[in-house]
Amino acid sequence: KTPRVRKMLGFSVFRGTNLLRARGLLSAVGVRAIHGHEVAKGEDLSVPMYCDRKDSPLPDIPYVQKLNTEQEALKEKEKGSWKNLTNEEKIALYRIAFHQSYADMCKSNSEWKTVMGGTFIFIGFTGLIVWWQTAHVYPPKPHTFNEEWKEKQAKRMLDMQMNPIEGFASKWDYEKNEWKK
């Protein structure tokens, strides 16, 4: 008997656990932990989060949550009169509370070049695929696309005076029997 190969991670995870724990183990964090890679801490979306948004100026929490001793001392000094703070200290306090200033947020970057470049690369690749299709996939064109047939077809359209006011036959000079200049 051939051994059953367990390809689905889900089976070994679900066996003997309840579903909520399994969901955590099945997440990307869980998979990486099982495979022994370094795990990035997943976001806990149930507590207030910090975010830089141009339309919402004051985030729910300060940016730096765990202050080092230097920052702790600065926070103590902040409790006193602010006139005693130097400009560098004020900036340091700002950077504790905020990650990006409005100037940082609004700064333009070169991302558009990457986007445009990638887009054009893929469009170019698609062009190659389309060319290959026309060369190797499409059936032969119908006989009605031959030059001779198309000439006869155009002659018939002119004989019928199709769209004589603004369309096809309007471009033909019936007196001189040629296309209008």
Partner: protein, 77 residues
């Protein structure tokens, strides 16, 4: 201490923007409609009028007949 700056506008920002953009929108729409009327509508009416001034239906029919496109009438020799 830096000098005190003027208090920025706190209210009526949307109204101010709308006043400007509404005027622009109306002007542009009317201009587009006018341009379309002249360039497309009037020129088309003129083309039709000019065509039918000189149009002879019977002559046109005989030309088509002689070209041999009809099945009910054969070309005159």
């Amino acid at each position: 201490m830096s000098s005190v700056i003027a208090k920025p506008a706190m209210r009526g920002l949307l109204a101010k923007r709308l006043r400007f953009h509404l005027a622009v929108a109306f002007t542009l729409s009317i201009a587009c409609a006018g341009a379309f009327k002249v360039a497309v509508g009037d020129s088309r009416k003129k083309a039709y009028a000019d065509f039918y001034k000189k149009y002879d239906a019977m002559k046109s029919f005989e030309a088509m007949r002689d070209a041999g496109i009809f099945e009910s009438v054969k070309p005159r020799k």
